[in-house]
Symmetry: C2
Subunit: 270 residues, 2 copies
């Protein structure tokens, strides 16, 4: 089965949002995503995925919670221990946090690798250009020709000197099959995903249940904090993290929030 | 502040989905939404809203649950009691269930009224054409010039012989302000919305917490079942429904599902 590519004209209506709007930040992020579509970074399906993320972000309260902080700590330690870490970049990530990705790449020495589910030569180049414009010097994944074992179609494509040889891969909002295939290939996989019930979250080594926009700068700061720590300390930080436990904590947290929200509803507070 | 409209080229990559895919139906609906974007029915923000809905649909288990069935029963009775019911149609609804909307319109005598948040003359006409192609004979809301009181900008536009004079309005996934304004104008407002925490759900007379794709055919069937019922029976069915109670039930249901999912996680079942 082959993918069919077509181009369509889409009308974008930009409604100005006043700074005073109670949801100003959320709406700005949404606008960045729509701009990402216009720039060819984001595919329509990426917007749907973003909406799913928004919903889970609402459920966790739109803050970096304790379960995410624990995961960020473990991820930072793992980055410092890794010999060949790679940061995988998809269209949504490039649209929302190109600059942060570049800074993380510089802080860790991990190259950025373009890795698209809906892959086309044009989109590969568009994502790479956005990263370059944000200051990236080394970008992998354009014209990648190796394949991640146990994965079919375009999404198996990866670069030899990047994801294929990496011992640690950081992925934003990702497809569950790819996470599973990378784990089976023996890599440590760090996923940033707002959905604690996703297959990516379930299969990852470490899942940061948080919005990428908030999590990436925090991950970089944590790496700076741990940079001078001993290997022993880093190993302890990395190994004390339990992914299933973190996911269960996130789910329990959402449950308790829903409990509060539903009792507010019953008492008439909105 | 004025809205800015621009046209951009968007690449659509259509990946064939085999019938055997465990998420076949969900992916088909997603494909319909992307096609809706290509046809000019759906705006990019509509895709993000669809993603939020997907998340809540997952949380309620992707089935029409008891709280939705109660709301459907009350909504059916209210339709049969209404003197001037109107069905409000936005781009997402037109993309996903044009045919069902036409059937509901025929079953109830309620006209379809195009009602867009991101309104443009072109989009009005595109949505109206999609409804016409699905068999609609009477379509309101194109070149509407009246305004719903207490609402600003384009989203206040409505038709005199439609929403303005209606005593009942059915709305799919809607903006909370519009629901509130319609309630304040004295109308009965039936909302189909997957998010039990939305302002639309909170402000509606009746909220059907369900996917529009599942809820609309069920609403029509319920109207057929109740068609021969006495006015007294219909009034009883309509008045026995309590919106806050239904929302609380939906939230509790989601909470208990999360509890089950998180204990499965703890015990290693996925």
């Amino acid at each position: 089965m082959k993918a069919e590519t077509s181009q369509v004209k889409v009308t974008i209506v930009k409604v100005p949002v006043p700074r005073s709007h109670p949801r100003f930040e959320l709406l700005m992020v949404r606008e960045q995503m729509v701009e990402g579509l216009a720039r060819g970074l984001v595919v329509p399906e990426g917007l749907i995925a973003h909406g799913r993320g928004e919903c889970f972000d609402y459920l966790i309260g739109e803050k970096t919670e304790f379960f995410a902080l624990k995961a960020i700590r473990a991820a930072a330690a793992s980055f410092l221990l890794a010999e060949k870490p790679v940061i995988s970049v998809n269209g949504n990530l490039a649209a929302l946090c190109a600059r942060e990705l570049v800074e993380l790449s510089k802080a860790t020495g991990a190259p950025l690798e373009v890795n698209l589910f809906y892959r086309s030569k044009l989109r590969e180049k568009t994502v790479a250009s956005a990263l370059k414009a944000a200051g990236a010097s080394r970008i992998l994944g354009v014209n990648a020709s190796k394949r991640i074992p146990r994965l079919k179609s375009f999404r198996s494509l990866a670069e030899a000197k990047g994801i294929i040889e990496a011992d640690l891969v950081l992925l934003g909002i990702e497809d569950g099959n790819r996470v599973e295939a990378l784990r089976k290939a023996g890599k440590k996989v760090v996923v940033i995903d707002l959905n604690p019930l996703s297959r990516s979250a379930f299969n990852a080594s470490i899942t940061i249940i948080d919005n990428v926009v908030r999590a990436l700068p925090k991950l970089r700061l944590e790496i700076e904090k741990l940079r001078s720590a001993s290997k022993q300390r880093l190993r302890r930080e990395a190994s004390s993290y339990d992914n299933r436990e973190a996911l269960a904590e996130a789910l329990n947290y959402i449950r308790s929030r829903l409990e509060r929200l539903s009792s507010n509803l019953a008492s008439g507070r909105s």
